[in-house]
């Protein structure tokens, strides 16, 4: 009974009818892909879309349409940052998706995320780019703006990326430029500041 109670209290699983998306409450210490530990001072919602085979975790505070924090940990060289589309017409090959390769420089890592957010036809412009430390490694921090193709909403974004032993560790966050981003960005900064590579 205790097990059921703690499961009920600590994990809220919503199975959205018709799409199979699951949302789980995450809190305290979390480990992304078994390799990057983050300490959460407040709860987030971890979202796994239907058939979720993405190489990153996605967390949100207010819902996927409003804010998304994506986290990559120990992504090996040669891996895609996002799964290629499945519904490719017969006889066609899938379009390219951004791929992390060994030896990428900070500017090239930023390019990966620029393409990642522009891939659906959204307009992306990269803002301030500067060296930083992420997950205990020297890396790059970048700011960006997205005009979302789906609905024209103006989003602000921020990202971090670092490479260790030819594996990519990264985080990126987007939310509507007005109200949501200014309110949520400090929470994201706290998550990112706590990130540490394991092993």
């Amino acid at each position: 009974m205790n097990f059921l109670k703690s499961l009920f209290v600590s994990v809220v699983v919503l199975v959205l009818v018709g799409c199979g998306t699951t949302i789980v409450k995450v809190d305290g210490d979390q480990v992304v892909n078994g390799r990057m530990r983050v300490s959460l001072s407040e709860a987030w919602n971890k979202v796994t879309p239907a058939g979720g085979n993405q190489p990153y975790e996605v967390w949100t505070q207010e819902g996927m349409a409003l804010d998304q924090l994506r986290l990559w940990a120990a992504l090996p060289a040669g891996s895609n940052l996002v799964a290629p589309p499945k519904n490719v017409p017969s006889g066609q090959t899938a379009p390219r998706v951004p791929t992390f390769t060994a030896g990428m420089q900070p500017d090239q890592l930023v390019n990966l995320f620029e393409v990642l957010y522009a891939i659906d036809g959204s307009m992306v412009s990269i803002g301030k780019v500067e060296p930083t430390v992420f997950a205990g490694e020297r890396g790059v921090r970048f700011e960006f703006a997205v005009t979302r193709k789906l609905d024209g909403v103006q989003l602000s974004g921020v990202g971090w990326a670092a490479v260790r032993k030819n594996e990519l560790y990264a985080a990126s966050f987007v939310a509507p430029r007005l109200a949501f981003f200014p309110r949520l960005a400090p929470k994201v900064e706290r998550v990112v500041q706590s990130a540490l590579i394991q092993g």
Partner: protein, 353 residues
């Protein structure tokens, strides 16, 4: 041909117009709408010359999206995407595409298509092509070119040819549009893509369409309008090239940029764009190619400032610190407030990631 009266709201066609009116209201507010009066007026004037008596009913909107697409809704709303403007080489090719869309409009194909749609999903997919969003990812570079039936496409090709030739343009340019697109289509569609439709088995193969258009065009010459087209699009071209690069479809972009450079080998913007694609793709043989293109770009008087940045990054990857720093210094002198200035200064200082 007589102008169309607005259909009554209690008819299916009236309902379609009302939906398109709402979409147009949305489009007018969209951040994707390119608000350049001169460019919009230029395309509007061209559409008017093609549309003749229907000119007062045609309203052109330029939409900033890096895919080849134009469409015309039954209420007269015409969308022209910037990926199309980047790809056509002259006014005659633009006239060919707009003439084709006006052909669909004159024959009210969208109304027929609406009545043919067998399901809500089919109708939604068809309607989606007229929205600001369009059916993006799935259709790739040729977004929206397969909204209509084979018969509709053939008729629109014929009508489009008549309209462009009546307006004084060289008809062969309509076939050239497909010829140019074929190279890009082969990247995801394979070498034999021209022998079939890249999207729908019911549609005429690209090669058939191209040869049919050549036959329709006949021998007659006509205006190309190269200078006018380049002049009116010049202010936006660098943005559109960068939008194309951000698609991340390196091989398709290389086909496009190779074509641009075959026409104008000293085109500083296209040299930058191709060099940047090679730099970002970073395959085994890409860096020397990138270096050659970017070096050629900065040798031009009209070199874009971004070419110096990219050149510095390539030199850095090739461990040529002196040349890298020279290019970076030039970049920072031309763009002192660049958003990545701190990163570039970090590179100049010799720090490593």
């Amino acid at each position: 041909m007589q102008r169309f009266a607005r259909p009554s709201l209690d008819t299916d066609e009236g309902g379609l117009w009302a939906m398109m009116d709402r979409e147009e209201t949305r489009l007018r507010r969209s951040p994707f709408l390119l608000r350049d009066k001169a460019l919009t007026q230029y395309v509007q004037d061209l559409a008017c010359r093609l549309g003749g008596d229907h000119c007062p009913d045609i309203r052109v909107h330029i939409v900033r999206t890096p895919l080849f697409n134009a469409n015309m809704a039954p209420n007269g709303m015409m969308q022209v995407w910037t990926g199309l403007l980047l790809r056509v080489e002259n006014e005659a090719q633009l006239a060919a595409v707009l003439g084709h869309e006006i052909g669909h409009y004159l024959e009210r194909h969208s109304t027929e298509r609406m009545r043919d749609a067998k399901s809500r999903l089919a109708f939604a997919q068809f309607m989606g092509l007229f929205g600001v969003v369009g059916a993006l990812g799935q259709l790739g570079v040729l977004a929206g070119a397969f909204a209509f039936s084979r018969e509709h496409e053939t008729r629109a090709d014929r009508l489009g040819m008549q309209l462009m030739q009546r307006a004084g343009y060289e008809g062969q340019q309509a076939a050239q549009v497909w010829e140019n697109l074929l190279g890009e289509l082969k990247i995801t569609g394979g070498e034999d893509v021209g022998k079939r439709s890249p999207m729908m088995a019911t549609h005429p193969p690209v090669e058939t369409r191209r040869s049919d258009l050549l036959q329709l065009a006949g021998e007659g010459g006509g205006k190309l309008g190269v200078a006018e087209f380049r002049s009116v699009t010049a202010a936006h071209r660098m943005d559109w090239l960068q939008d194309e690069i951000k698609r991340g479809q390196f091989e398709e972009s290389l086909v496009l940029f190779n074509r641009m450079l075959a026409a104008q080998p000293e085109d500083a913007q296209a040299l930058f764009a191709r060099g940047e694609i090679f730099r970002q793709r970073a395959g085994a043989a890409d860096l020397p190619k990138s270096l050659a293109d970017l070096t050629a770009s900065v040798a031009q008087e009209a070199a874009p400032v971004q070419a110096y940045r990219s050149l510095g990054l390539v030199h850095r990857q090739l461990s040529d610190t002196t040349q890298a720093n020279q290019a970076f210094e030039k970049y920072l002198s031309l763009a002192p407030d660049a958003s990545d200035a701190n990163l570039i200064k970090n590179y100049i200082s010799g720090a490593t990631l």
